[in-house]
């Protein structure tokens, strides 16, 4: 499986798209497939402080309930409210409309601790 080249990936199966100090985060297609049909997402509050690799939300599928782990540290500036009524976006478009939150990052160097698309593909193969 291949993954978008412009993203960085965590071993916890989250992705991050960094644009300046703003980072958009979500879960990968691999995670969505493994979870199966996602039926509920608990989003963080706008203004919440996230810590890299710490839990910031919950995703529930027909199979399991899993914590969401933030790939970066920072402050939540926006959440994808559509997921409240359309959690299926996480399955149908995990890298696009299924984004979870936007974060004002505090440490750009953290991206170095994440995988690139090839590295993530190896991890999940």
């Amino acid at each position: 499986m291949t993954y978008p080249n412009d993203l960085r990936y965590s071993k916890d199966h989250e992705w991050v798209r960094a644009e300046g100090s703003t980072a958009t985060i979500g879960i990968t297609s691999f995670a969505a497939d493994e979870l199966g049909d996602i039926v509920f997402v608990e989003l963080p509050e706008v203004g919440a402080a996230l810590k890299q690799f710490a839990a910031f939300g919950v995703v529930e599928s027909v199979k399991a309930v899993s914590d969401l782990f933030s790939p970066v540290s920072g402050t939540v500036s926006e959440v994808n409210g559509r997921l409240q009524s359309e959690p299926e976006l996480l399955n149908s478009d995990p890298f696009g409309d299924g984004w979870i939150a936007r974060v004002e990052t505090t440490d750009g160097d953290e991206l170095k601790d994440l995988l690139d698309a090839d590295g993530y593909a190896k991890l999940t193969s």
Partner: protein, 558 residues
């Protein structure tokens, strides 16, 4: 609207099945979605004024007595009549009988649902529970009229004490999860009593434990810390020691674990927990594997709960009522829920000896502890002394098996699981390839990778063979998990048939994967849209609309 066509059953499915139309599914558009209705709601057959029971009119004496009672306050009275279905007793009976026929049950077929211990519940339990002297007793009866019930509860607590090696047992908790909650409430009370309530904030939970363990810890206000398993499926001692500290309130460990594996370093685990002053909690959900072979009390555990509806054959019911007694060591005994049934006249030894010999003890007298007897008690967790009907059944089960019988229960449960483990390893991956206890966890990853057939597809296909599927996708640490718990009550022939079915499904996964994706095809309803059910549940009955299924039923019946 037409009756949904169902595909033909697989070759191996029994032909005596019930594709006879009992489960004819038809579709009814409700709320914009296609809702399958196999048995209409009772409201569909409701007719104004129709009655199940006609009450006799009140006698003069009763009316007078009622008049002297205080009136229900105005604000609490209904202003409109409750819209209950109005049906005859016969219609009611048929409705629930038809519903029960749509279901699978242990009394109908094999039910290897891992972690749930779906053993046969002997009917002698039901005989005992229906004895009028017990079934017609009331918890508010005075102690002098309740000696038998009190004695039975006292004796059951004694039996559970002996089985577990714990110092004291409360029967109150109504389910395993409530037993856990009681255990952690006692843990918190214990730490508070020592001035360490603030300091101890964390509960350690292995990643192979029951999901309820973490939920219980959160309910009590603790932060949970997950401890990973090692490559053998046991707890990683290094990771455990690293996580333990002065902030640890307790370790909750399921033993045997949800991998069906006995924790063979249990002595080191308990010692490490005690070294930091924390409480060692054993989740007794998997007790069916170790009866007469291992006692939590002997291993030093401070608290454990029992699932009477698993190990001790009380019914799982429709989710209840369960019973989850909790046992504790000396340290936690003062904190047990109150009131406990106690022996107030007579000696423990004599009463026990007589009871096991089937004799009464002249002069023995029982009572419930008076409130405040143990000031450190966490108090009541359940009305009265818990689900007494379940206590009765469990007591009957334990007494009818006896010491040797209970040991044999576990030996046979373990033997059955290992038999399936060995016979299915050629067809399914076994992530932890070692002798298991009462359940065995396979992985369907081979079927998924090679043929695109998921564990969900396999589970659905099993339904077409009139077998309840194993637990799937749990424990979470096993990819595509298939968790099989045969229990001790199945014959070798039943186990062999299951082996044949699992082999046939593995073959079909390779040769005809699309057929498995369509399974089940012989059940009252086919593959349900679990995602839509969770995302957009439709739980309300619309009185304004035509009763769901009422018109369709006529068509289907025509």
């Amino acid at each position: 609207m037409s009756v949904t066509e169902r595909p033909a059953p697989p070759s191996g499915a029994p032909s005596d099945g019930d594709a006879s139309g009992r489960g004819a599914a038809f579709s009814s558009p409700v709320g914009g979605e296609q809702l399958q209705v196999v048995e209409p709601l009772l409201f569909a057959s409701s007719r104004t004024g129709r009655r199940d029971v006609r009450f006799p009119s009140l006698s003069e004496a009763a009316r007078k007595a009622a008049e002297s009672q205080p009136e229900v306050p105005k604000h609490a009275r209904r202003t409109a009549t409750a819209r209950l279905p109005e049906v005859s007793e016969l219609d009611l009976l048929r409705h629930f009988n038809r519903l029960s026929h749509l279901n699978h049950a242990i009394d109908l077929g094999f039910y290897p649902l891992g972690s749930c211990t779906m053993k046969y519940n002997p009917k002698v339990n039901e005989w005992a529970a229906r004895l009028p002297g017990l079934s017609e007793s009331h918890p508010l009866d005075p102690a002098e009229l309740s000696q038998g019930s009190l004695e039975l509860q006292w004796l059951l607590a004694e039996l559970l004490r002996e089985i577990s090696g714990m110092a004291a047992v409360s029967l109150q908790p109504a389910a395993g999860a409530q037993g856990e909650l009681s255990g952690l409430l006692m843990t918190r009370a214990y730490h508070r009593s020592r001035g360490e309530g603030e300091q101890r904030t964390k509960v350690l939970v292995p990643d192979s434990s029951h999901g309820t363990n973490a939920a219980t810890a959160s309910m009590v206000g603790y932060q949970t810390v997950t401890i990973r398993s090692n490559e053998r499926g046991g707890i990683d001692l290094g990771a455990l020691r690293e996580a333990l500290g002065p902030d640890t309130a307790a370790l909750m460990i399921t033993n045997p674990s949800t991998l069906g594996i006995f924790e063979d370093q249990i002595d080191q685990v308990v010692a490490a927990v005690h070294q930091v002053g924390a409480i060692a909690y054993m989740d007794g959900a998997n007790l069916n594997a170790i009866l007469g072979r291992f006692r939590a009390g002997d291993a030093g555990f401070d608290v454990m709960h029992f699932n009477l509806h698993k190990t001790f054959s009380t019914p799982h019911g429709g989710g209840g009522p369960g019973a989850g007694p909790v046992g504790v060591g000396e340290r936690l005994a003062p904190f047990l829920p109150e009131p406990l049934p106690i022996l107030v006249e007579g000696t423990d030894d004599e009463v026990r000896r007589n009871a096991w010999a089937g004799r009464n003890t002249p002069g023995a007298r029982f009572a419930l502890e008076e409130e405040g007897t143990r000031p450190q008690s966490i108090g009541k967790v359940r009305a009265f002394t818990g689900n007494f009907g379940m206590h009765l059944r469990a007591y009957t089960y334990i007494r009818s098996n006896g010491d040797a019988g209970l040991r044999e229960v576990s030996d046979d449960a373990v033997l059955a699981a290992n038999y399936l483990r060995v016979r299915l390893t050629d067809a399914y991956d076994l992530p932890y390839d070692r002798i298991c206890k009462h359940e065995v966890v396979f992985s369907g990853r081979r079927q998924k990778r090679q043929h695109g057939v998921t564990t969900l597809d396999i589970a659905k296909a099993i339904l077409d063979y009139r077998i309840h599927p194993p637990t799937i996708y749990f424990p979470l640490i096993v990819e595509e998990a298939l968790m099989i718990e045969p229990t001790e009550t199945e014959s070798l022939e039943t186990l062999d048939r299951f082996v044949d079915v699992m082999h046939e499904i593995a073959d079909r996964a390779a040769t005809d994967p699309s057929a498995l994706k369509a399974a089940p095809t012989t059940t009252p309803v086919g593959r349900l849209d679990e995602a839509a059910a969770a995302r957009r549940p439709d739980l309300r009955h619309d009185f304004g609309a035509a009763p769901a299924g009422s018109s369709a039923r006529q068509e289907a019946g025509a």
